[in-house]
């Protein structure tokens, strides 16, 4: 098969030898399970049990809300003792709602187990997808995107190629490697189910060339009826080949459009662990309750892979492998390139926990002094998204959020290649995360202020409209009054005549009273009728005022 290559990337030393020596250790049930309600990309689930409830293994305890979401199940039987925020594996180090189960050691399924579907190939794809959703399955490669959503292409979109992403490119992680060595049949069965569900034409199963045992196991166990469908492909080990976009480029030479999804190319890409979970959910009726975690690094006594129940505290997992080594001071969830350091090991294993990497200061020294960027361009040379990380850095620093988007900030996959080669110790990925968050926050803020502005403008318009309507009504009324006055024209002439006569007699009285004071008074008396006319005008306008008040 003709392979392609993506720009940049890093050749990193393979550190999986230590953790692949021993078989996967299946851990027992810990005394307490801390099950976070948000273990996936999307909205956190809502608890559907209460404190004091007894739960059985596999019982749904967290109900997903929304489309991009996943249910959460009780990994073992026991009693719910607490539903409260607890430290969870998240880069922020913040707490999030968890359901804490005091296990009873029975590991009892009760009546909650879903019906095993051995005849799954007769089922409707929609029902299979629903089963995957009911089982709470998410991508087990680390990103934890709900699988049922991925397997539900948009209307009019046909998926012709299914890609199995066995390119475990981060140094140290060997969870997929060990899964492929120990349970290839279940992975293939999961592939059959998903291939049936999506009706794909072909399946490309990529494995990095530094996982020969896994490849041998797959080759030996590939079922005859899948030979026409599934193509096993050994891909060169180059970080980050395991990135979905990079792997698709390597396998097909095609690039997932910027801002788009593999489905835009008619492809869906999933981790082998996800296929095994699909197989478990459909054929055994078992929801996603456990996963393989690589416990490794110079900071542990003994590296190996562990199958741990979700909710098992990191400390228990590490203790099960033999505990920490002397001087350990950093614990990372995920690989050394993209994983994040956690501050505490009381936090639990979640669906995305593929690796626990413990290191000592001599392995991961505190970052050296931050030096200025010398524009050496090494970052651009290794960037698999073909970006100019040094320019993004300047723009993030300058908070030039228009330019940084123009330069492709949102095409950054945060693989960390740039930060690794930076001679100036600049935590570049941090700058990009900052810029992304800032842009999202501003976007939200803008939407909020847009809504506020719309409301204000609407209110303003309503007030204006009311004013306008009122003015129109007023004008109409005025016109009506005027018209009426015009009709009563005869009367008002009479009234004016009476009024004038009254005024005249009043003036005469006044003239008589103050005759001695002189002629000027009578002169002023002569002007009186004019004043009176004015008064009459004022009286009329007063009348119209009162009409106005009534109309209000």
């Amino acid at each position: 098969m003709q392979l392609h290559r993506f720009h940049g990337g890093l050749k990193l030393a393979d550190e999986t030898a230590a953790s692949t020596r021993d078989p996967v250790l299946v851990m027992g049930v810990p005394s307490q399970l801390i099950v976070p309600l948000g273990q996936h990309i999307g909205e956190a689930a809502e608890p559907c049990v209460a404190v004091g409830d007894h739960v059985t293994k596999g019982q749904r305890i967290g109900q997903s809300k929304g489309y991009i979401a996943a249910h959460v199940h009780a990994p073992s039987s026991g009693e719910v003792v607490e539903i409260a925020p607890h430290a969870v594996p998240h880069p922020s180090g913040l707490s999030a709602p968890c359901i804490v189960i005091q296990t009873d050691g029975q590991d009892d399924w009760g009546d909650n187990r879903m019906e095993p579907w051995l005849d799954w190939d007769t089922r409707d794809p929609r029902r299979l997808r629903q089963r995957i959703r009911d089982a709470g399955i998410v991508g087990l490669g680390g990103a934890a995107f709900p699988t049922a959503v991925k397997l539900n292409p948009r209307a009019g979109q046909r998926i012709h190629t299914l890609i199995v992403n066995g390119a475990e490119c981060e140094p140290y992680i060997s969870a997929d490697d060990m899964l492929l060595r120990t349970a290839p049949e279940a992975v293939f069965e999961g592939i059959r189910i998903v291939a049936h569900l999506l009706r794909v034409d072909r399946v490309l199963f990529a494995v990095e060339d530094n996982m020969p045992e896994a490849m041998r196991s797959l080759t030996e166990n590939l079922p005859g009826e899948l030979r026409d469908l599934v193509q096993l492909v050994s891909v060169p080990s180059l970080y980050p080949t395991g990135g979905e976009r990079q792997l698709i480029k390597v396998l097909t030479g095609q690039e997932v459009p910027s801002g788009g999804l593999p489905a835009d190319l008619g492809m869906v890409c999933n981790n082998p662990g996800t296929f095994k979970s699909v197989c478990d959910a459909v054929i055994q009726g078992r929801p996603l309750l456990s996963r393989i975690v690589t416990v490794t690094g110079p900071g542990v006594q003994h590296s190996r892979n562990v199958e741990a129940l979700l909710g098992t505290p990191f400390a228990d997992v590490i203790a099960a492998t033999g505990g920490y080594a002397e001087g350990v001071d950093r614990l990372v969830m995920g690989g050394p390139m993209m994983g994040f350091a956690v501050h505490d090991d009381a936090i639990p294993v979640i669906k995305g926990t593929n690796c626990l990497l413990a290191t000592r200061p001599q392995d991961t020294p505190p970052p050296g002094p931050l030096m200025p960027c010398i524009r050496c361009g090494e970052c651009a040379a290794v960037c698999p998204a073909q970006l100019l990380p040094q320019q993004l850095y300047w723009q993030a620093k300058a908070k030039d959020f228009d330019a940084i988007q123009d330069y492709g900030l949102f095409d950054c996959i945060e693989c960390g290649c740039c930060a690794h080669v930076c001679p100036s110790n600049i935590p570049l990925v941090q700058y990009y995360r900052y810029a992304k968050n800032e842009i999202w926050a501003r976007e939200k803020e803008r939407q909020k202020s847009d809504i506020a502005r719309e409301r204000y403008e609407f209110r303003q318009e309503r007030i204006e409209r009311e004013e306008r309507e009122k003015a129109e009504r007023l004008a109409k009324k005025k016109a009506a009054v005027k018209k009426k006055e015009g009709e009563e024209g005869g009367d008002s002439d009479k009234q004016a005549a009476i009024q004038a006569a009254l005024e005249r007699s009043r003036a005469r009285k006044a003239a008589r009273a103050g005759g001695a004071t002189g002629d000027d008074k009578s002169e002023s008396a002569d002007t009186a009728p004019t004043d009176t006319e004015n008064d009459a005008g004022a009286a009329r306008s007063g009348e119209s005022h009162s009409t106005d008040t009534e109309s209000r």
Binding site: F6, H7, G93, R245, K249, P257, S258, G259, G260, A315, V328, D329, R330, L331, V332, P336, M337, M338, G339, A341, V342, H343, D344, L357, T359, T364, P365, P366, P367, G368, P369, M371, P372, I374, R375, C376, G377, E378, A380, P384, A385, Q386, L388, Q390, Q391, D402, Q405, G408, F410, D411, G416, A419, H420, V421, C422, P423, S424, N425, V429, Q430
Partner: protein, 353 residues
Amino acid sequence: MRFRTESSPHMIPAHSVGGVMQQVQMALVPGTLAMAWFFGWGVLVNVVLAVLFAVAFEAAIVAARKRPVMTTLGDNSAIVTGWLFALAVPPLTPIWVTLIGIAFAIIVAKHLYGGLGYNPFNPAMVGYVVVLVSFPREMALWPAPDTLSDMSLGLGQTLQTVLTGSLPAAMDWDAITRATPLDAMREGLGTGRTVSEITASPMFGSFSESSWEWIGNFFLLGGLYLLFRRIIHWHIPVAVILGVAIPAGFFWILDPDSFASPAFHVFSGAVIIGAFFIATDPVSASTTPLGRILYGAGIGLLIFVIRTWGGYPDAVAFAVLLMNMVAPTLDHLTRPRIFGRSRRGPPPGDGHA
């Protein structure tokens, strides 16, 4: 148990600025030794003095800017600046010329713009151009290469000359200096002689003066080492050399009597050291692959143009400084195609949901 939480990647960094600069210094050694072989102690005296001045000025101004002195000196960039300056000036340059040039390079060209990473111009070349235009007489005094001269200055005499600015008694400048090949070519062509007449002189080797050819070869060796170690990329050196050679070749084919051969241009003066060590200064160069090619080609073309029709025999420093001005624009115009986009890319703001 509590742990440290630092940002990814959780690996030992692959490079450091100080380490990169050390590699550059190592790569400068063979060419510098070759220069000393042909031009005597003066080359080494220059390098030592210029480096000392550069480090001293850097320390002083970093202290004045209230930045951590030892951390900044640890980037080793001042050493490279001093060293490159020393290789640009003639071997018996008086100490005060070096002092002024370095002061200008470190204080004005580098730190007044914000220090390492912020200088738009190559500091060593700014310092060199300042002394070149200010002290043209001193900058023209290139001694004849020792292999062709019967006189040779000892270390003591060299120090005395550099410190006092005048030669020891019984020696005079006219006797020990001689035109460089570029000077000879320029003057010869200016007085109406043909290229073949000029290069017939015994000082010329296969392309240029043989001593300059050898110096060029050793700098080339250092440059290839930097390429091999991936400290520099091929784009700029190749583009500079082709940028000189292609226009030179074009005119040479048209009129070989009036225009020197492309090989003469490449192996004379500072083209090789400029291509591998000066034009590749990352801070002031372009950073995109295509931008680097255009930047290097521009330097090469300007070198040829200034040498052929300009007022100076060599032009690497001017060419580099002129292209420094264009580098940010080149970077902006030559952005690589982003993964998953066409060359024009979607309008800004797209690409995220």
